[in-house]
Amino acid sequence: MILFKNITKIYKKTNGEQIFALKDVSFEIKENEFVILAGKSGAGKTTILKLIIAEEKPSLGEIYFENTKINDLSPDKISKLRQKIGIVFQDYKLLKTKTAKENLSYVLEITGEKDERIQLKIKNLLSFVGLEKRENNFPDELSAGEKQRLAIARALALSPKIILADEPTANLDPICTFEILRLFLKLHQMGKTILLATHNENVIKFLKKRIIILEEGKIVRDDKNGRFII
C-alpha cells in the first residue's frame, strides 16, 4: 500500500546549513497492517507522515501510494490523495469555529456527498467514537480525549483504507491514551491499515505490532513484534 524507496529528506536552514531529516529510508506497509513508527523527537517520524500525505517532497528517492508515485503531485492530486488517507494529529487540528458535527460535515462536503448521507454518516461516526451527545460542542468545549476522538472520527469520515496518526496520545492522560489505542485496534480489526507514530514506550508495549525504529533519520530496526524497549 505504501512503499518508500531510498528516501532522503534534506531541509535547508536560512544560513545554508543542511539538515538530514531522513537518510536513505526504505520500507513497505501492506494493506491491513498495523505499523508503529517509533523514535525520539527529531528522529524523522513526522517527516515520514508528511511525505505520505505530500505535505513535503522527498529530496531523493521514490514514494508510492497504492502503486502510484506521489513524489511530485499537483495541488488537485494532493487533495485527492489526502481524501484517501485519514490523518490524526497530535494537536488534533480541528476547525475551532465549527462544532463537532460541522468538523465532520466539512470533510464530507469536500467530496460532494449529499446532505442526507452526510447527516447519517455524521451520526454513525459520532456514535463510533462515543461523542453523540457532543455534536453541537465546539472543540474548545471538549476534553483532550474527546478532541482526539473527534479527530479520529474526522479521519474516518471519507472511509479511507489507511489511517496515519502522529503522536495521537501525546497530550492525553493514561486512561484516555488507552481508550484511543483501543479505538485504533478496533479500526485495525475492521480492516484499516494503521501507521502510528509515537515515542511512548507504554504505547508500543500495549499495541504489540510491527515497529519501525528511527534514529537520526535512519531506520535502525524494523521488527514484526513490538516487544522491546527503545
Partner: protein, 300 residues
C-alpha cells in the same frame, strides 16, 4: 457543481457571520477607500468644470471697423480656424453686441440709457484657443497689413498677464490633482491590502487544516471569493447611501461652495455607474488580496 456552489455559499456566510468583527473592519476600511475614490473622481470632475470655467474667461476679442464687410470677417474667421488650434470662435454683429449688453443690464435702466448714448457698437470676433501660446501668434497674424486695416481694436493686451496666469494655474491644478490622486490611491491600497491580509491571517490555521484534510484549492478559495463579493455588494451599497444622503442634505451649500458645480445632480445621473464601479473595484481588490493572502497557506 450546484451542490458545491451551495456549500461555497454556506461557507462564505460562515466566514462573514462567525468573524463579524473582521468583516466589519474590512467593510469600514473598504467604505473609506471607495469613498476616497469616489471623492477623487468627483474632484476631478469639479477640477475640469473649474478649469473650463476659468479658461472660458481667457479669450481674445477683435473689434472691427463699422465699414468692414462681412465677407472679410468670414475670410478672417476661416483663416484663423485653418492656422490655429481654435477652441471656440464666435462672431457677434454690432446689433447683437448691443442687444446682449442691454439684456445684461435690463434691471438697471440707467445703464441701458448710457449704453444707447455710448453707441454705436462694433462687430466683434471672440476667439478662444486650445493653446494659450496661440494668442500671441493670433495677434501677430491680425497685425498683418491687409488684416489690420479692418480691425478697430484688439482686446487682449490688458488681459494678457491674467490669461497667462490662468493657464499656468490650470496646468498646476491638473498636475496637483493627478499627483494627489496617485499618492492617495497608493496609500489606501496599502491599507486595504493589509486589512484583507489581517483578515486572512485569522483563517490561517483553518485554511491549513482544510488543505490537510483534502479540501481542494477551489473549495478553500471559493468561500473567500464569495464572501468578498458579498462584502463588496454591502460596501458599494453603503457608499451609495452615504453619498446620496450627503449630497442631498448639503445640496445647496455645496452648489454655492463649488461655484455652481452641481455635484448632487452629477451623482444622481451617474448613480448606477458609481455603484457598479465601486462593486467592481471592491470585488476585484477583495479577490486579488485574498488570493495573495491565502496563496502561502495553500502550499501545505
Amino acid at each position: 457543481m450546484l451542490i458545491f456552489l451551495k456549500r461555497i455559499f454556506k461557507l462564505s456566510k460562515e466566514i462573514i457571520f462567525k468573524n463579524k468583527e473582521i468583516f466589519l473592519a474590512n467593510v469600514i476600511v473598504f467604505v473609506i477607500f471607495l469613498s476616497l475614490l469616489n471623492f477623487l473622481f468627483l474632484f476631478l470632475q469639479f477640477k475640469d468644470y473649474l478649469i473650463e470655467k476659468i479658461e472660458k474667461k481667457a479669450d481674445i476679442s477683435l473689434y472691427f471697423e463699422a465699414t468692414t464687410d462681412i465677407d472679410d470677417i468670414d475670410r478672417l474667421k476661416k483663416s484663423l480656424e485653418e492656422n490655429f488650434q481654435i477652441k471656440k470662435i464666435e462672431y457677434l454683429p454690432s446689433e447683437k453686441v448691443q442687444e446682449e449688453l442691454l439684456e445684461k443690464y435690463k434691471e438697471k435702466p440707467e445703464m441701458g440709457q448710457i449704453l444707447e448714448e455710448v453707441g454705436p457698437f462694433f462687430s466683434v470676433l471672440n476667439i478662444q484657443t486650445k493653446n494659450p501660446d496661440d494668442y500671441e501668434k493670433i495677434l501677430d497674424f491680425v497685425h498683418q497689413e491687409d488684416i489690420n486695416k479692418i480691425i478697430k481694436d484688439v482686446d487682449y493686451f490688458q488681459r494678457k498677464e491674467i490669461i497667462q496666469k490662468i493657464f499656468t494655474i490650470s496646468k498646476n491644478i491638473q498636475w496637483f490633482a493627478f499627483g494627489l490622486s496617485i499618492v492617495l490611491i497608493i496609500i489606501s491600497l496599502l491599507i486595504v491590502f493589509n486589512t484583507v491580509k489581517l483578515g486572512v491571517l485569522t483563517f490561517k490555521e483553518e485554511i491549513i487544516i482544510q488543505r490537510l484534510v483534502g479540501a481542494s484549492n477551489f473549495f478553500i478559495k471559493g468561500p473567500f471569493m464569495f464572501s468578498g463579493f458579498l462584502s463588496a455588494l454591502f460596501e458599494s451599497f453603503i457608499v451609495l447611501l452615504l453619498f446620496s444622503l450627503l449630497f442631498f442634505i448639503f445640496q445647496k451649500p455645496l452648489l454655492n461652495f463649488l461655484a455652481g458645480f452641481n455635484v448632487y445632480q452629477l451623482f444622481k445621473e451617474k448613480m448606477i455607474y458609481f455603484f457598479l464601479f465601486n462593486l467592481l473595484i471592491s470585488f476585484a481588490l477583495h479577490s486579488i488580496f485574498m488570493i495573495l493572502g491565502i496563496k502561502k497557506y495553500l502550499k501545505v
